[in-house]
Amino acid sequence: MTKTLLSLSGISKQFDGKAVLDELSLTIDDGEFITLLGPSGCGKTTLLRMMAGFELPDRGTVTLSDADITQTLPEHRPLNTVFQNYALFPHMSVFDNVAYGLKMEKRPKAEIRERVEEALAMVQLEDFAGRKPHQLSGGQQQRVAIARAVVKRPKMLLLDEPLSALDYKLRRTMQVELKRLQRELGITFVFVTHDQEEALSMSDRIVVLKDGCIQQLGTPREVYERPANVFTARFVGQTNFFPGRVTRIEGERISVDVFGLRRELSKPSFRVVMNQPLHVLLRPEDIRVLAPDDTEGVAGKIVERNYKGSTLDSVIELEDGSHVMASEFFDEDDPTFDYSIGERVRVSWVDGWEWLLAEEGNEPLTDEEELAADDAEH
């Protein structure tokens, strides 16, 4: 059913002696929406530019439908790009911008007119054909850029952070539209972003990149719920990292001690030994905040509360000084529920919703990654 459209193998690239991509291999299936996600400088844009032909790899090959296109010039690749800042031709009308690619193919005039009008209709810009790019809003320019790229019916559409210049609301609208376009056109989309929320909501598969290496490749659900390593867990969404220790191993089950609570879990995919320290990962929405007189959970007090409309996000300081992020939905029974700062509570979670990760050599994120991850959340 799924057939490989593009494959990259052993791609390495250095700029000024610094490795941007390191022995990277990736196959992209025909018709999928795949997202390259990572902080700035992770190599995601370089990877996209290599697919487009704007950069050549130092080593490795790029194959498109079984043809080696590693050295093929961009103008001869059946792929088109939507640029981050649109890169519209400022001296041409919207119509001429969209027609450009077809004119280069020397298509007959009538066909060009028909296909351009069709492409403009697809992005709801029929009435703007005569305008110049500078007479359009950012969102409209974005649509022209998309129409210009899809009018050639490429095998693959490469999108380089196409929504980053738009405001939040418009970005949401364009996300939905891009998904609709992809469904209607059936073209493979390769989407570059540093916005993990965007990646989760749009993609069939996500490639998480860091320092030119793939950290994880999987569906949004896999990446979010079963992060392969600490970096992915931190970069995609917010996560509580609780220190755990293995206290019992029995067949496929293990016991883990977290804050003195004993949890029964299925054995993770990595090797565990008795008394091994582990990361126990819990998303804020998996945390349960209980009354102080509850018998379950760990004691703590509220140190921060944030009203988010549909959720109430809070930070709880445990007695050992560590902080826990919790995100709770308002429910119909108690629409006025709220916390006051300093309020005593107990923290627990649904047994079995934890995700375990082994401790890694260099644990803490560097400052830059922390910043990038913060950026990505907003």
Partner: protein
């Protein structure tokens, strides 16, 4: 109105200065030139009544028409040479690493610190019969006897190109600086090769710079009278020489003024064309 002037003395002072400048140092002299051009030549007072268009009629005298056409031809040739050198030069300059770019622009501007008259005399030393160039060519054995380089049309054009090339390069450099790399990549991405991208994207987007450069070179190339004076001999006159001669030697002010006005109108026409091309690119009214 009066009140606002009282309240904002600085604003008023600036306005008076600007308008005063424009009125007395730009408008008034130009009006004097226009006035002089429609008056009659007078040996004792330079100009006198009655008003007439004799001076303009005199411009069509075949003798002056010849000078004008030859001057125009030399100016166009100078402009073309400047464009041919300046365009790739500015393009390359815009692609050089930023820090080196600043150094190169600095080197481009350094000659301006020396008076152009002095630099033209320097050129004369190079082109003279036993000047640097002839000596070099002879010692290399390329030629046996000194070539006549000075007092030729070629010498005038070399002089004009030498003096005016920076005026072509600077506006071109500015448009190449504004030329966005991703727009060129987009052109390639959509199937255009190098030549098609040059023709369809680079040329139209750098056209305002070309026109600005042409304006800055073409008109001075008709007016820089000291270049033919020093390098060209009597046969390679510019319109600028004619104007200068009318005022200083022939004492025919109306005719000199009329020739100036024709030159000014040519400039205005070019400015207008430049404005149109800019508007086409959407740089105004956005």
């Amino acid at each position: 109105m009066m009140q606002s002037i009282k309240q904002q003395p600085f604003r008023a002072a600036v306005l008076v200065l600007v308008w005063g400048w424009l009125l007395f140092l730009v408008l008034a002299p130009n009006m004097l030139v226009v006035g002089a051009s429609v008056m009659t030549r007078d040996p004792s007072t330079f100009i006198s009544l009655p008003l007439n268009f004799d001076a303009y009629r005199q411009l069509f005298n075949p003798l002056y028409l010849d000078v004008f056409l030859h001057s125009l031809y030399m100016a166009v040739l100078t402009t073309l040479i400047c464009l041919l050198i300046g365009y790739p030069f500015a393009w390359a300059l815009s692609r050089v690493e930023k820090r080196r770019q600043m150094l190169l622009i600095f080197l481009l501007i350094v000659p301006f610190w020396t008076n152009s008259l002095v630099r033209t005399y320097a050129l004369k030393l190079i082109l003279a019969t036993n000047g640097l160039l002839n000596s070099a060519l002879m010692s290399l054995g390329v030629i046996d006897e000194p070539a006549q380089l000075l007092y030729t049309e070629g010498a005038v054009i070399v002089g004009l190109v030498y003096l005016l090339l920076p005026f072509m390069i600077l506006p071109l450099y500015s448009v190449f600086e504004d030329l966005r790399q991703d727009v060129l990549l987009a052109s390639h991405d959509l199937g255009a090769g190098r030549f098609a991208t040059f023709k369809n994207i680079i040329v139209p987007l750098t056209l305002p710079g070309v026109l600005a450069g042409v304006m800055l070179v073409l008109l001075p190339a008709m007016g820089l009278f000291f270049v033919p004076d020093i390098l060209g001999g009597s046969r390679n006159l510019l319109v600028g020489n004619v104007i200068k001669n009318q005022f200083l030697d022939a004492r025919n002010w109306p005719f000199g003024a009329a020739a100036s006005i024709v030159l000014t109108l040519t400039m205005a026409l070019l400015l207008f064309a430049h404005r149109l091309s800019k508007r086409r690119l959407g740089e105004e009214g956005a």
